[in-house]
């Protein structure tokens, strides 16, 4: 039982990362109904920017973070206005092709610019683990997990309680009506993409210390984040949090009780099963999915 509890608790860190990455994916999907297949690669760029700012330019960690997140937001906004906007109103396959093209492009360029050698980034919080009863929690894990929860709460508050959040939801559900009410669709979309990429970028930067920073770092993590987003429901904020943690815990349990090799397999199976049985996930909306 202790082992089980320990496994669950140590999933806090990665669960939080998956949740944050899934949040980034869902924020974009919520407004634009597009799955940003390039989200992993874009996030890696953010993490690489932190490294550059911190290591090459010698900036203090906090400043590096701010710079990189700003860069991520800019990248997201530029993607929307430079690429996605041009294919607005086309059938879904077009935007799928676009984000996949961007995935190849961004990942490739990241390799060219930064090279494939692993780099190191310090964790945000360091220090000894905290003991809670029989289990011990890594401080950084705790921070990441709590941060993910905080971001989720903040986003929910934003969407439900602020005027801008309402405007964003309006654009998502009925762009024409939103336009009539004076909400600029372009602005909202650009904002969503900026926030989405920035969020996933944060996830990547938090993950960097653990998985060694390379341009392909997010490949595996992106898959877990996908699974989390699908399980929670594409476009759902709470869903991203729940799904991300669920996937984190599930993969930790599998690694602990069965084998680390099977983690990815089970997670993929999860994706397909969820899409077959309940495509809208736990918290998503059924109407959007079928036919």
């Amino acid at each position: 039982m202790t082992e089980f509890a320990q496994l669950v608790v140590s999933a806090l860190g990665f669960g939080g990362i998956y949740a944050l990455a899934a949040l980034g994916l869902n924020v974009i999907f919520k407004t634009s109904n597009v799955v940003n297949f390039a989200f992993g690669a874009m996030a890696t760029v953010v993490a690489l920017l932190v490294w550059t700012a911190h290591t090459s330019l010698g900036l203090p960690t906090a400043a590096a973070w701010v710079l990189a997140i700003g860069g991520g937001a800019a990248l997201g906004g530029a993607t929307e206005s430079g690429f996605m906007r041009r294919v607005a109103g086309t059938p879904p396959i077009v935007s799928i092709v676009m984000t996949i093209g961007l995935l190849l492009l961004v990942e490739g360029l990241a390799g060219v610019i930064w090279g494939y050698g692993p780099k190191t980034v310090p964790t945000v919080i360091s220090g000894p683990s905290i003991a809670i009863g029989p289990v011990s929690v890594d401080r950084n894990d705790l921070f990441v997990g709590a941060f993910a929860v905080a971001v989720t709460l903040a986003l929910n508050l934003f969407y439900q309680r602020t005027r801008l959040g309402l405007a964003v939801r309006a654009v998502a559900e009925d762009p024409e009506v939103a336009a009539l009410m004076g909400v600029s669709r372009r602005w909202v979309l650009g904002l969503s993409w900026a926030v989405g990429v920035a969020l996933t970028g944060v996830a990547a930067t938090l993950a960097a210390p653990a998985v060694s920073l390379t341009p392909t770092m997010m490949d595996d993590i992106a898959v877990f984040a996908f699974a989390g987003a699908v399980l929670g429901g594409l476009g759902s904020i709470t869903g991203a949090l729940v799904g991300g943690f669920a996937v984190g815990i599930l993969s930790d349990l599998i690694a602990g009780y069965v084998s680390t090799n099977l983690q990815l397999t089970v997670v993929f199976a999860l994706i397909v099963v969820v899409l077959y049985l309940r495509p809208q996930g736990l918290f998503g909306q059924a109407a959007q999915v079928r036919q």
């Binding site: 999907f29 109904n33 597009v34 799955v35 297949f37 690429f83 041009r86 294919v87 086309t90 059938p91 879904p92 396959i93 077009v94 799928i96 092709v97 676009m98 996949i100 093209g101 961007l102 995935l103 190849l104 492009l105 961004v106 990942e107 490739g108 360029l109 990241a110 390799g111 060219v112 610019i113 494939y116 341009p215 490949d219 898959v223 996908f226 699974a227 699908v230 594409l234 084998s259 090799n261 099977l262 990815l264 397999t265 993929f268 199976a269 994706i271 397909v272 899409l275 077959y276 495509p279 999915v289 079928r290 036919q291």
Partner: protein, 377 residues
């Protein structure tokens, strides 16, 4: 067919797209299925047949050529799925893997089987997997479908890695050489010819399907899934058949792949290969079989240079995809078409711009009756 100048303008009402989402005009062809450029095809065919006479001694080149044939069949199968069937798939390398592993496993455990049986099994087992994937996939659309195929494309190499002694795990499986009559298929040249034969027969079969009710059903579901049932089309079943067929041909490609590489390992089929196939089909031109072949050839070239290009190879593909999307939706195939049209003139005459608003009097054939003309308001 005579043309009546007034009619076209009379019936023409600009721009309204009443249908639900029509497929973007990427497929570009003036007809449902792109015409085969006969001369060009014959020329390439001759080159393909004669080519080993010159390069037969060069194992690397022959092996690359066979790789191009293999990739060509994969991209054609993906084009069938995406371009003609309208179903997004970013997991096609998974089917290739199933075909290749089936070949290796069957050849290892059932050594006496004739090569044609192994080939058939590779296709059929992969088709079965396609069926299984197609069942849930038929219920999904757009991004959800893409994510499902993503899951598949990622899962297959993982399963291969964890398949224990069946799949050889990390080290993979050696492919025992096959025998084609008196010829041993462990030599690059016979393997090349076999690959060419498989490609040609498959291409013929695919074209045959496209010019038949099944093919039209694929395209009907692609263009207007919700109204297709009124024409007697069971959309779900059609999509399942589509996935199954696409997987079948990809499985055949897996057989050739296995022979060509002599070893089948999980790392050959990672997710980036699926992405590359996807990019190759888009860049070649959705809905054009020739485009898919050209895309596959490009892919082989890029992969070869990948070692020296590093990240550039990915970036180049990415740029090509984005450029195609924004500027040349029909891909390379449409570029070729435009060049030919510019040189030789368009195949279909341009729509005549006649006087606006003229009534139906000029329109029909000999059926226009005086009664019809007098009703003009």
């Amino acid at each position: 067919m005579s043309r009546r100048p007034g009619r076209a303008a009379a019936l023409r009402r600009g721009g309204q797209q009443g249908d639900g989402r029509t497929w973007p005009s990427w497929t570009g062809a003036a007809r449902s299925v792109a015409r085969v450029p006969v001369l060009a095809t014959l020329a390439v065919l001759v080159v393909a047949l004669v080519f080993p006479r010159f390069e037969g001694g060069n194992t690397t080149v022959m092996s690359l050529a066979t790789e191009a044939l293999t990739y060509g069949l994969v991209t054609m199968s993906l084009n069938l799925l995406m371009g003609y069937g309208g179903q997004v798939s970013v997991g096609q390398a998974g089917f290739l893997a199933v075909g290749a592993y089936t070949t290796a496993i069957v050849a290892t455990h059932f050594g006496g089987l004739p090569f044609i049986a192994v080939l058939a099994l590779a296709g059929l087992v992969t088709a079965a997997v396609g069926l299984v994937l197609g069942l849930p996939a038929a219920r999904l659309r757009g991004h959800y479908l893409a994510v499902a195929t993503l899951g598949f494309g990622l899962a297959v190499p993982e399963i291969a890695l964890n398949g224990g002694s069946l799949t050889g795990g990390y080290t993979g499986l050696i492919v025992p050489p096959q025998q084609l009559g008196p010829v041993m298929l462990n030599n690059p040249v016979p393997v090349y010819y076999l690959g060419l034969a498989v490609l040609l027969v498959s291409a013929a079969a695919i074209r045959s399907v496209l010019a038949s009710p099944t093919g039209r059903r694929f395209m009907a579901v692609r263009d207007s899934q919700d109204t297709a049932p009124a024409m007697g089309i069971n959309a779900g079943r059609t999509k399942v058949v589509l996935f199954t067929l696409s997987a079948f041909f990809c499985g055949l490609a897996g057989y050739v792949f296995a022979l060509n590489n002599s070893i089948v390992e999980y790392s050959s089929f990672d997710f980036s290969l699926s992405l590359f196939f996807f990019a190759a089909v888009i860049v070649g031109g959705l809905g054009s079989m020739w485009g898919s072949l050209i895309g596959a050839a490009l892919l082989v070239v890029i992969q070869q240079e990948a070692v020296s290009l590093g990240g550039f190879s990915e970036a180049i593909l990415g740029v090509a995809v984005v450029i195609v999307l924004l500027l040349v939706p029909g891909g390379l195939a449409s570029l070729a078409r435009r060049t030919r049209d510019a040189v030789a003139g368009p195949r279909l005459p341009r729509r005549p711009a006649g006087p606006a608003g003229s009534g139906p009097g000029g329109l029909p054939d000999q059926r226009s009756s005086p009664a019809g003309a007098s009703r003009e308001g």
